[in-house]
């Protein structure tokens, strides 16, 4: 009986680890996907309506969901106070589900956002979008392959443990 309970617990833990692994890849993909969507929105607003960053971020947050929106809400606050320092930007955009290089990439973008003249700002957004799309595609692939494998593996390992223990 004790073996069965222990087997059940180990099965649960193994499945949980697998799902957590998948969640990591899913969240990473979702964030980068939303980041690309924000960049597109940003570019459209910069070129056509020339809105300021606070109102661009505000509109995006109202029309979208997800972790990037939570970060953008905080970003709006520091912009309004004129406190978009390196530290504050890092605190907001150092998203834990991104890889180290991806975090640095996102941080660097938001740090320079709004500080460049029109031509350079548009060029920067375009360049960032190209790179972000590549990262998003890679994250999507990772989520569909490695993430899916992890979740299935966790579940299978759990069942295997249960069977062995039984």
């Amino acid at each position: 009986m004790l073996d069965l309970i222990l087997g059940g617990m180990l099965c649960f833990i193994s499945t949980y680890i697998g799902i957590t692994g998948k969640l990591y890849y899913d969240k990473r993909y979702r964030f980068l996907k939303d980041f690309v969507a924000f960049l597109q929105d940003l570019k459209d607003n910069m070129v056509y309506s020339k809105d300021n960053l606070i109102s661009i971020a505000d509109k995006f947050v109202q029309q979208n969901k997800g972790d990037i929106c939570k970060a953008l809400v905080l970003y709006k606050e520091i912009l309004a106070k004129g406190e978009n320092t390196e530290k504050n930007i890092k605190d907001i955009f150092d998203y834990k589900y991104l890889k180290k290089g991806e975090r640095a990439f996102v941080n660097e973008f938001f740090l320079t956002l709004g500080t460049l003249d029109y031509d350079n700002q548009i060029a920067k957004v375009n360049l960032t979008m190209v790179q972000a799309e590549k990262l998003r595609d890679k994250a999507e692939k990772d989520s569909k392959t490695t993430g899916a494998v992890l979740s299935k593996l966790g579940l299978l390992a759990g069942i295997a443990i249960m069977l062995i223990m039984a």
Binding site: N52, L53, L79, G114, T115, L116, D117, Y118, D119
Partner: protein
């Protein structure tokens, strides 16, 4: 006004300014990258601190506040050489031009800022009050920084309170200090402010729609604007304007401005903020 200046400047600079001058008399602050900071109190320049050198970060910080961290959104204004900030504060800028297809496309690497702070000063000069009581087309002349705009504001307010409908062409937000639809500088009961519209467009459209008695314009410049003013005068509207010029004789020799002078009654020469040098009645000579 002090709250706008406090918000705009880095804390260390603002605190130092507060300790060195009366903020209410501050007329200009000049930030130049890698050079000392100068400020003007009632038009007189002083160095803030001999050892204080303006950093690139100081300039970036002021620009970030002035543009709400959206420098790109101010490109057209930057191309005209200034950014308008709350309270009628105008920030003149200079930096490196970016030329695209032969035209100036944007300005990057901004290295100098000239922050001009608007003031309303009661001018206790009977000659100005006389001029207001017998108003006719008037030009206010002086070199830059001697208070043309300050006198213009004073005259707008008093003429407006006398019941004249005055159309204030405030392209840069400097005359009214208007922000978020609120006039931060009182321009009287009968003034209508046209904010942010290029003056050349405003002359034509607003004269027809607002039916002003007087049009007030700061820093008229060039043939096109003079032609617009002459059209307004032809329509029966009086003009009250400032011109960058230290000497009316130079103005008379200029073919463009000489055409305008044919219709101007008074020239006011000033020698300092709130300090009138003389008023020339061109009909009397």
């Amino acid at each position: 006004m002090e709250e706008f200046i406090e918000r705009l400047l880095p804390v260390s600079i603002f605190n130092e300014l507060v300790s060195k001058c009366d903020i209410s008399r501050l007329t200009e602050i000049r930030l130049r990258a890698q050079k000392p900071l100068y400020f003007a109190e009632n038009g007189r320049y002083q160095k803030l601190l001999p050892e204080y050198i303006v950093s690139d970060q100081d300039i970036k910080s002021v620009l970030a506040v002035a543009t709400k961290s959206s420098l790109y959104a101010y490109n057209s204004s930057i191309l005209d050489g200034f950014i308008s900030y709350d309270g009628g504060i105008r920030i003149g800028i200079s930096g490196e031009g970016v030329i695209k297809n032969g035209n100036l496309s944007s300005i990057k690497n901004i290295t100098s800022l000239c922050i001009r702070i608007p003031h309303y000063i009661d001018i206790k000069d009977v000659r100005i009050n006389e001029l207001i009581n017998h108003f006719d087309n008037t030009l206010i002349l002086s070199r830059p920084g001697l208070g043309k705009t300050t006198l213009l504001r004073y005259m707008i307010r008093h003429l407006s309170d006398e019941g004249f409908n005055i159309l204030v062409l405030d392209e840069r937000g400097e005359l009214s200090g208007m922000s978020m639809g609120k006039e931060n500088i009182n321009l009287g009961e009968c003034s209508d402010t046209v904010l942010g519209i290029p003056k050349l467009q405003a002359y034509a459209s607003q004269v027809r729609s607002m039916r002003p008695d007087i049009i007030a314009s700061d820093e008229i410049f060039g043939e096109k604007e003079v032609e617009c003013i002459l059209d307004c005068i032809r329509c029966g509207v009086k003009i009250l304007a400032t011109v960058h010029s230290g000497d009316p004789e130079i103005l008379k020799k200029n073919s463009i401005y000489n055409k305008l002078l044919q219709y101007v009654r008074y020239i006011v020469l000033i020698k300092g903020i709130g300090n009138i040098d003389k008023i020339i009645d061109l009909r009397r000579g």
